[in-house]
Amino acid sequence: MTASQIIFYILSAFILGTGILSVTSRKIFRSAIWLLFSLIGIAGLYFWMEVQFIAAAQIIVYVGGIVVLIIFSIFLTQQSGKQMEKAPLLRTVASAAAVLLGFALTFVLIFKHGFVGYNGTFLSNVDRIGSAMLGTDENGFALPFELVSMLLLAAMIGCIVIALKTKPTEE
Amino acid sequence: MNLLLLILLPLTFSLALLLVTKLHLIRAIALTGAVVQWSLTIALLFFYWQQKSTGVDSIMYFEAVYRWYDALGINFHIGVDGISIAMILLTSTVVLAGVLVSWKEERMTKEFFFLLSFLSLGAYGFFISLDLFSMFFFLEVAVIPKFLLIGIWGSGKKEYSAMKLALMLMAGSALVFVGLAGLYYNTSVNGVHSFDMMEISKASIPAATQNLFFPFAFIGFGIFTALFPFHTWVPDGHSSAPTAASMFLAGISMKLGGYGCLRVATWLMPDAAQHYSTIIIILACIAILYGAFATMMQTDLKYINAYSSVSHCGFVLLGIGMLTKTAINGAVLQMVSHGLMTALFFAVIGMVYERTHTRKVAELGGLLKVMPFISSVFVIAGLCSLGLPGLSGFVAEMTVFMGGWQKAESFYRIATIIACASIVVTAVYILRVTGSSIMGPLKNEQHLQLTDAKWNERTAAFVLLIGIIAMGVAPFWLVDLINPGTEIIIQKISSN
């Protein structure tokens, strides 16, 4: 087993472990922290896969943005120490069953499909990404880029209207 | 003559109704509309005779094709033959009588006549359509006005009945649709599928395919014409409906089904018609006898007539199921006859109800004394129903019997005998109801104050009576009228 492999398995275990903790922890704040770890682990995985740009984006957007947002929201809505209520047992069982079945199904299908690795070069340096991002030709992503900007604008407007509210709520 | 007039005129009059608000204007427009339609249909008959006499010999007359949904091969193809003309005449007569009978309708008069007019439009459209799509279109056009007429102006458990009627008829048309789709995909004119009946009738559809789709079309249309065991909308629907709507429902709407069974199911799928004829006959016989017996137990005048309609419409199906020319002639005659007779019956029941506010046989009695005209008409309608010679019912029933007997196998003969037996049962229930409501001692003293029919009611009754007697005393013109049409259907059946 090479070092790379060991790193991969450690990363994987970390991601999945923290992921499981994140969705099972009864304390919401801890849950958020486990999520944070999991996301960082994923960023690590990206590094391991040598897609540094994505890894960076992952850290900036998720770790720096979304998790922070989530933690703020938790502060806004909750006392940190309070334990969350458990889901009804029936649903927990059903969910576990569904999830396990889904997982088995998905992975069996993936496994059966037999993805064969490709041994060509994969260039993901930042300048290639950058030029493609603004390219309007066959491999360009200028249009999605613009689209996303509209989406962000809309999301922003939406957030503002909904969250910044002045009137008191009707009972 | 342009057949489109038959659609455009009712449409114009119904739209005109929407524009006016004064009660007398509404009535005037409604009546004018009905009279104009009626004259138009009479004119149609004469034009047809004229065409015939000048030696024009074609399957359909006054044909016209208007392009519609080109992409699907759907045209608005219209034309008439004798059978359709008979049906159209029936429609206009019943509508005229219906308008006259409802002359006094005070509640939402405008809407009432609007819907009535719309109904007649649907019926005309149905009878002149030669394209299955437009036929289906007109078949369904009529559903909603019926629902509203019953639900708004009806009596008794009107909402329930209206809903039941609408749903069962809709189920009928749903089945019809499947049949039509089957025909459509099994006909190909220059590579394009077609709904055109004239084209489909020329195409040779494999027997297995016909056997698959025939039940859909037949049961679908059959529901309209009270095919056992799908007849249950008839009693409730008819008895809850306001008079004019009952007249229309029983007089015309049920005939849409019979006409469809004949024109679509039997004509276009002759092999299947032969294949299923046994079943059709059995169902028809059940409807005839069972309907008649069920009628005996009814206590409400409208229920009595409704159940007797089930029984009488059984003759239509029996005639169609027998697949002989005479029997099919009989089926068409029975459609016309039953249409007129039952409309008359409902009209009279309506008149009685309007005066006495009851339709329970047990609460009526001796009406002949207080309202001789209405009572006489009631008796005549009853006599027509039990097949008295000189009135239309006799001609139709006898023709069906004759046609049924024509088939030599014992099965057909026994079926005919069963059908014949119903005339006795019919006599029993008709006489029971006549005996206790029209004759006998006056049961309710207050009825002494009641008045006899008004001019509009008299006219309505006369209009229908003329039809009944014209058919009963001189059936030959009607038979001559429908003969070419049935001839074509028979040719198609026997050619396979």
């Binding site: 889901a87 649903r91 059903a94 569904a98 079945l101 889904g102 199904l105 299908l109 | 039941k164 069962m168 056992f228 065991p229 249950t232 009693p235 069972y290 017996f293 069920a294 005996m296 137990m297 009814q298 159940y307 020319k325 005479t326 002639n329 001796g366 002949l368 004394k369 001789p372 006599l383 097949g387 008295l388 010679p389 000189g390 006799f394 001609v395 006898m398 023709t399 019997f401 004759m402 046609g403 007997w405 024509q406 005919t416 014949c420 005339i423 006795v424 029993v428 006489l431 029971r432 005996g435 206790s436 029209i438 004759m439 006998g440 001692p441 006056l442 001189a474 059936p475 030959f476 038979v479």
Partner: protein, 644 residues
């Protein structure tokens, strides 16, 4: 139009009366309706006599044989090329005879009704119904086509219904009219099916053609109809039996006779016309009309014979016990028609052996006169006494001399006392029966004795017995001239009609049949009749205890005869109990609860399903996502693994 088109006027005149009075009578002719109708019928009667004259003496005879003549024929409704209903007029001896009888009796009844029905509220309606009946009856007898006959057959039935129910406010009248119509309709069903068989087997509905084809043993139609069989009985027998059932219903033959006594609820002149002289003999006429065909099938003739004979005796027995004068007359009518029937049954076609046929027609002819006479007489009595019951009568000979005399003539005629019309015709019938079937003869003899007995029981009870009856309506007197005139005329006919040598005109094959008058043979019948009269005289001339005593001695038999052998009850049981409770009620129940219940069940179960799955939409978004995913997995597995 040919020169015989005037015949068309005979039925059309009453029809015109019907339409005129029916449509406008109430408003415009409420008083004059009777006169108008009578005049129109008078014209028709004159025409019918003229027709008879023309036929019997001028046009009818070819080569000494009376030929059927189809005077007029129009196609009315064509079923197929061969089978069509024609409206036509067929003249042959029996139809011409019937024309005369119907017009004449009808005229008498019209005249009688002028007085009898005077002041009735629905006077015009009455006459219009009479017109309708006369029209239908005339149409029936001249029918050239079996279906035409059926049409008028039905019309006759309906006119009978309307006239029986004339007093529509009387529940008993309504019930009687219903009963009459339904029973005859039931019988007509047989007639109709018979027509269907005959029509299709012979390929024609035309009487002439049918008779021609079915009397020719070589014709293909005859071979088929006799060889083809259903349930082991040949089609011909089936057809004729069924047709006979139709006739039996109309003619009130046992066991379809139950309507006739009740039909007496109608106005008495109507009973005279319809239920004595004309309509009820339609069945006899039908068998006579088809007689050449009947004669080809001994089995059906056998049936005719026995039904006729049993009706004759049963009715006679019942008549002895009834106390309602009209009912007595009604049973007597039934009995007499039974005579006509079995007379036809024992007859053969043509020649000497065709005596029964001729006798039957002769009896029909004479019976029409004396029976309508009796009925009209009874009408006059009832008009005076206002009751039908014998107990309300007695000693009326003083108050109503003319009625008394004419009634006596009628009684003598029906009893078969020599020199009266009934004697001649009955004698021939008995002779025919004697020649053919001894048992029938004995039955007939017995019946004629009974006839004499009950007729004179009636006669004595009305006119003698108790002395004066209190309930008589003195100022009424015996009735107006218009009531007396028909009685007198008919009484004369009841004597004179017997002297017509009927065999010259009406025979089964149209050839001349010599009169067979054997003095010796007449002894037994006449003695029987006299014996009957004697017993009646002994019992009923004076009021005494004997009748009661004897009836007690007869015990159960008397009681069951009084109750008409419980046949009515049997019918009621079958219709009310069995058909109503076991067919109609279940049919209605099934319709409401099973067929309709099924349709409603679909609706309710849909609603129930709808309500039971509402928890799918629990409002919890996590459940939604769970179901979402569950559905997805299911579909995936379905698509990938299960559904290839």
């Amino acid at each position: 139009m040919n020169d015989s088109s005037y015949i068309l006027l005979i039925p059309l005149l009453p029809l015109a009366a019907f339409l005129l009075l029916g449509l406008f009578g109430k408003k415009h002719f409420s008083k004059s309706a009777g006169i108008i109708a009578t005049l129109m019928l008078f014209a028709a009667t004159v025409l019918s006599f003229y027709t008879a004259y023309q036929y019997f003496f001028i046009t009818g005879k070819v080569n000494d044989i009376y030929q059927p003549i189809t005077a007029i024929k129009y196609t009315w409704l064509s079923f197929s090329d061969a089978l069509q209903i024609d409206m036509g007029i067929l003249l042959d001896p029996i139809s011409v005879m019937m024309l005369v009888v119907i017009c004449f009796v009808s005229l008498m009844v019209h005249i009688f009704s002028l007085g009898y029905m005077k002041g009735e509220e629905r006077f015009a309606t009455y006459y219009s119904f009479l017109g309708l009946f006369t029209f239908s009856m005339l149409g029936l007898v001249v029918a050239s086509n079996i279906f035409q006959m059926y049409i008028f057959w039905e019309l006759v039935g309906v006119s009978s219904f309307l006239l029986i129910g004339y007093y529509f406010q009387k529940p008993s009248a309504v019930a009687a009219s219903k009963k009459a119509f339904i029973v005859t309709r039931f019988a007509d069903l047989g007639f109709l099916i018979g027509i269907l068989i005959i029509g299709f087997q012979t390929g024609s509905l035309d009487f002439t053609t049918i008779i021609q084809r079915l009397t020719d043993t070589q014709s293909s139609q005859f071979i088929i109809i006799t060889s083809a069989s259903f349930l082991g009985i040949s089609f011909l027998t089936w057809a004729l039996t069924l047709i006979f059932i139709g006739g039996a219903g109309k003619s009130a033959m046992f066991p379809l006779h139950i309507w006739l006594p009740d039909a007496m609820e109608g106005p008495t002149p109507v009973s005279a016309l319809i239920h004595a002289a004309t309509m009820v003999v339609a069945g006899v006429f039908l068998v006579a009309r088809m007689f050449p065909v009947f004669s080809m099938d001994p089995t059906s003739l056998e049936i005719v014979t026995w039904v006729g004979a049993s009706s004759a005796i049963i009715a006679a027995i019942i008549a002895c016990t009834q106390t309602d004068i009209k009912r007595v007359l009604a049973y007597s009518t039934m009995s007499q028609i039974g005579f006509m029937m079995f007379s036809l049954g024992v007859s053969n076609y043509g020649g000497e052996s065709g005596l029964g046929y001729s006798a039957s027609m002769f009896h029909l002819f004479t019976h029409a006169f004396f029976k309508s006479l009796l009925f009209l007489g009874a009408g006059a009595i009832i008009h005076m006494v206002h009751s039908n019951e014998l107990k309300d009568m007695g000693g009326l000979r003083k108050q109503m001399p003319i009625t008394h005399l004419t009634f006596l003539i009628g009684c003598l005629a029906i009893s078969g006392i020599p020199f009266f019309a009934g004697f001649f015709s009955k004698e021939e019938i008995l002779l025919a029966a004697y020649n053919a079937n001894k048992i029938v003869f004995v039955v007939a003899l017995l019946t004629s004795g009974l006839t004499a007995f009950y007729m004179f029981r009636l006669y004595f009870s009305i006119f003698w017995n108790k002395e004066s009856s209190k309930q008589t309506d003195a100022h009424h007197g015996e009735g107006s001239f218009s009531m007396k005139l028909p009685l007198v005329i008919l009484a004369m006919c009841s004597i004179a009609a017997g002297y017509i040598s009927f065999g010259q005109f009406v025979t089964s094959d149209g050839k001349l049949l010599e009169s067979h008058f054997h003095l010796l043979f007449s002894i037994a019948p006449v003695l029987t009749a006299l014996a009957g009269i004697g017993v009646a005289t002994y019992l009923f001339l004076r009021e005494n205890e004997c009748p009661e005593k004897y009836s007690k001695q007869l015990g159960g038999f008397y009681k069951s005869a009084l109750h008409k052998f419980y046949i009515d009850e049997l019918y009621l049981f079958i219709t009310k109990k069995i058909i109503f409770n076991f067919i109609a009620k279940p049919a209605a129940w099934v319709d409401k609860n099973i067929v309709d219940g099924f349709m409603n069940g679909i609706a309710t179960s849909t609603a129930q399903i709808s309500a039971s799955i509402k928890n799918l939409q629990s409002g919890k978004v996590q459940n939604y996502t769970l179901y979402f995913f569950g559905g997805l997995v299911t579909i995936t597995i379905l698509l990938i693994y299960l559904w290839k």
